[in-house]
């Protein structure tokens, strides 16, 4: 067989494929019972930046009976070499073929990576359909697993919820099953009984004439009616790695990531993360300072970044940043505070940020008018934005990035133009500061993504704007921005359209994903390979009408493909929120007042503070 080493000098960034980094785990594969491959359906540079992988890699490798290795999607140059030389996709630690592992676990971070999953299975020589598979089990978890249906024919089982809470139980069952030499199906039945595990082949789906779902019913006694996600109740007690892999080559987020809390108490109605990670659970500053200390010692990283959905919502941020700066400053380590909100951005916080690194600031008003911000429950006012921007400019920042979404429910042209007005207002704040007191070179960046309605959110029933409508709104916004210091970035509307198909898709899409991979679709979130026309051909050939999933509004009594997945937030709550959205009525956040979403059933977090 050809030797992969003979080709490494021919690919871009060969170190993506050679492993051996500081912190990577070395075990004797002969001496373990379970070979687990953590598969990231994107390249090394992206996958290695992912926090969830660091946590699970560390956690699984704590088990003496299991060896967890990493597998990434090879870039096109390497894929070509693998295919031309009939070399199988391999794991970084041992170089062993993925096909020979016991379990391949994919993480689903974004819908546009689905073709990469199929491509990786294909490169490994693993049958693409679950029902054709023998030997290796293919599982998946992560945020997109909360609507697992588009991958239902491909993935053997899904893990719903936080992996560190459940993966050990799955591996315990696997070890026992393997020892017992039982049939393949038996393992699936055994784990189907664990809370948080979903085996899609144990469910039959029937359809109405109009294409909507008529019923989803278990076909195996082990299968539950509803599968409820699992979460870590107390993050201070949960596993968090104190030693992580430090890559040799540059990756996207090359730094220590310190997760300060999970979830978000705000309840923005478009936001899936805000629902699926409920309830909010914080780590204590004491725990975080200890972790930071070990991670700095063990990695030697020059930067540490706080990770959460909204850093400035951490209840003891002052105490935490003071403690961290005491450690990082003498050691020349940068402290980064991403994900700030404008309504609690303070002088004190800004002073701290300036002491560590002067980079741009990012705020996310999401919508251009107060009315639309009320619709999406983004409870910030124009005044919040004005005061934060003024504060930032007077504090020596000259660049501000503003994030918005186009295509939100009820959006009118006035809301779109409102984005331009808001950006102008921010730019004007700069000129209210005396010339000597402000930094030079004002730049305001308006970044507008296209709204994609997500499962388990109050907007899960809403129609998504068509590509034409979105493109018209993009043009309207571009034309409304007059100020020279304002730059405008927008997202490709067709990518959001595709994302919308798979985001709210059902299991009839598995064949589409497979057909798309056959046609050469991969890395759809990368410009290099993306072709919308090719996708349209695939839909056409598969007899699937993508508009059915995107531009069609659903009624409250339609059975949604993910209705049997329970994230702990009730359908009632989502309906109430959707109705309030239509009236532009806001809902207070968890810390002000509980709105009874249902997530208190997990027995922890903000609901009991």
């Amino acid at each position: 067989m050809a030797d992969i080493r003979h080709f490494l000098s021919k690919v871009e960034k060969p170190a993506r494929y050679t492993g051996g980094e500081w912190g990577s785990v070395i075990k004797d594969p002969e001496k373990v019972d379970i070979r687990f491959a953590f598969c990231f359906p994107d390249i090394y540079d992206v996958g290695m930046s992912h926090l969830g992988m660091k946590i699970l890699y560390g956690l699984i490798n704590e088990r003496p009976d299991t060896y967890c290795e990493r597998v990434f999607a090879p870039w096109a140059d390497m894929e070509q070499i693998l295919r031309e030389n009939s070399l199988p996709l391999f794991a970084l630690e041992t170089g062993d073929s993925l096909k020979d592992f016991d379990i391949a676990g994919f993480t689903l971070q974004y819908e546009m990576s689905y073709t990469n999953i199929v491509n990786m299975l294909d490169l490994a020589g693993i049958p693409l359909l679950s029902r054709d598979r023998e030997g290796i089990f293919v599982c998946a978890g992560g945020p997109c697993a909360y609507n697992p249906e588009p991958l239902a024919d491909i993935i053997d089982f899904f893990i719903l919820g936080e992996g560190e809470e459940i993966i050990n139980e799955v591996l315990d069952v696997f070890a026992a099953w393997k020892r017992a030499n039982a049939p393949r199906k038996r393992f699936l039945e055994q784990i189907a009984e664990l809370e948080g595990v979903y085996v899609p082949s144990f469910y039959d789906v029937s359809y109405n004439e109009d294409g909507t779902i008529a019923s989803v019913s278990p076909n195996n006694p082990a299968a539950k009616e509803k599968i409820k996600k699992r979460i870590v109740k107390d993050l201070d007690k949960a596993y968090y790695p104190e030693k992580i892999i430090v890559p040799y080559t540059d990756i996207v987020h090359d730094r220590i990531m310190l997760e300060i809390f999970r979830g978000c108490s705000r309840g923005c109605r478009f936001c899936q993360a805000g629902i699926i990670y409920r309830p909010v659970r914080e780590k204590s500053p004491e725990k975080l300072l200890n972790l930071a200390d070990s991670l700095i010692k063990n990695t030697g990283y020059e930067e540490i970044s706080l990770v959460s959905l909204s850093s400035s919502d951490y209840t003891r941020l002052g105490c935490l940043t003071d403690g961290l700066l005491k450690v990082t400053e003498p050691k020349n380590i940068n402290l980064a505070l991403p994900s700030l909100r404008v309504d609690n951005f303070s002088m004190e916080l800004m002073e701290k940020m300036r002491r560590v690194r002067k980079s741009g600031l990012t705020f996310a008003p999401e919508a251009g008018t107060q009315r639309l911000r009320n619709v999406i429950n983004k409870n910030i006012t124009e005044e919040d934005i004005r005061s934060s921007a003024t504060l930032a400019f007077s504090g020596g920042f000259s660049g501000i990035k503003l994030y918005f979404m186009l295509g939100l429910p009820t959006e009118t042209d006035e809301d779109v133009i409102g984005i331009a007005n808001l950006a102008e207002m921010v730019a004007d704040c700069y000129f209210t500061i005396q010339k000597e007191k402000r930094a030079r070179g004002l730049s305001v960046t308006v970044s507008a993504s296209c709204f994609v309605p997500k499962p388990h959110t109050p907007f899960q029933w809403e129609a998504q704007d068509s590509i034409e409508v979105l493109e018209r709104k993009q043009k309207l916004l571009r034309d409304s921005i007059k100020h020279r210091a304002i730059r405008f970035n927008w997202h490709e509307a067709s990518v959001s359209y595709l994302e919308g198909v798979f985001s709210r898709g059902d299991r009839r899409l598995s064949k589409v994903i497979i057909a798309a991979q056959k046609k050469g679709c991969k890395f759809d979130s990368w410009h290099d390979f993306y072709s919308f026309d090719r996708w349209l051909e695939v839909f056409d050939e598969c007899g699937v009408v993508p508009d059915f999933y995107t531009t069609r509004a659903r009624s409250y009594d339609e059975i949604l493909p993910w209705d049997h997945i329970d994230v702990g937030v009730s359908r009632d709550f989502l309906m109430r929120e959707n109705e309030k959205a239509k009236k532009a009525v806001t809902t207070p956040q968890c810390r002000e007042q509980c709105s009874g979403c249902g997530a208190n059933s997990f027995g922890g977090g903000v609901c009991f503070e």
Binding site: S9, G19, G300
Partner: protein
């Protein structure tokens, strides 16, 4: 401030990392090992260190040199032990440490052992004949320009250390230095223009030692 000079190996596991990756790896390993490195002044402080001669992607080495400014005078054997305990196995390994001022610009040549895996059957006489030639012209690209050079004027010693029907191992001593440097891959490219059966599929060079003026 003292100047600490380390000799280190770049092993097989890190053959494909580039010079900047080596640098970054060192900075982080020194922080893990708590070596008292001196940082530059200014808003973005960085460790003060200089490498003798950057090593390319795809090349391993047994003789790399780096000077590191330290604020203290740490014990040399202690530095070696602590750094190696903080470097991944098979990758970078520190083999010697000293306090010295001998400038890197005195490096004039370097010795390499190059393993070549050939496409197709190799005729070793071809290679001997090529190595005996007086002139083989090849284009040498540098940052600024492309120039034609005679590679043979830059090969001071050469030897076939071993071969099979499909591979050969060479030892060469070639020009090296920060002002004029020949890469081992260029030697292979030049030889394959002169030796008909030589058609490298993969080249695995290893830098063995530096020769100072």
């Amino acid at each position: 401030m003292n100047k600490l000079r380390l000799t280190f190996e770049k092993g097989e596991a890190v053959r494909y990392i580039g010079h900047l990756d080596v640098l970054r790896t060192f900075v982080r390993a020194m922080r893990r090992a708590e070596i008292p490195v001196k940082y530059s002044e200014g808003f973005n402080p960085h460790a003060v260190m200089t490498f003798a001669l950057p090593l390319g992607v795809g090349v391993t080495s047994e003789c790399e040199l780096v000077d590191i400014a330290v604020t203290d005078e740490p014990h040399l054997s202690d530095v070696i032990t602590r750094l190696n305990a903080n470097l991944a196995p098979g990758g970078i390994k520190v083999v010697a440490a000293e306090y010295t001022d001998r400038p890197f610009r005195e490096i004039i040549r370097a010795e390499y052992v190059i393993d070549i895996v050939n496409n197709g059957r190799l005729n070793i006489d071809d290679i001997s004949a090529a190595l005996a030639q007086k002139e083989i012209l090849i284009e040498k690209k540098s940052k600024k320009k492309v120039s034609e050079i005679n590679i043979m004027e830059n090969i001071f010693e050469s030897e076939i250390l071993g071969y099979t029907d499909f591979s050969v191992r060479l030892r060469v001593v070639i020009s090296a230095g920060n002002t004029f440097n020949i890469k081992p891959q260029l030697v292979c490219d030049a030889l394959s223009t002169a030796a008909e059966s030589l058609n490298p599929r993969a080249v695995f060079p290893c830098r063995k030692r530096f020769i100072f003026a």
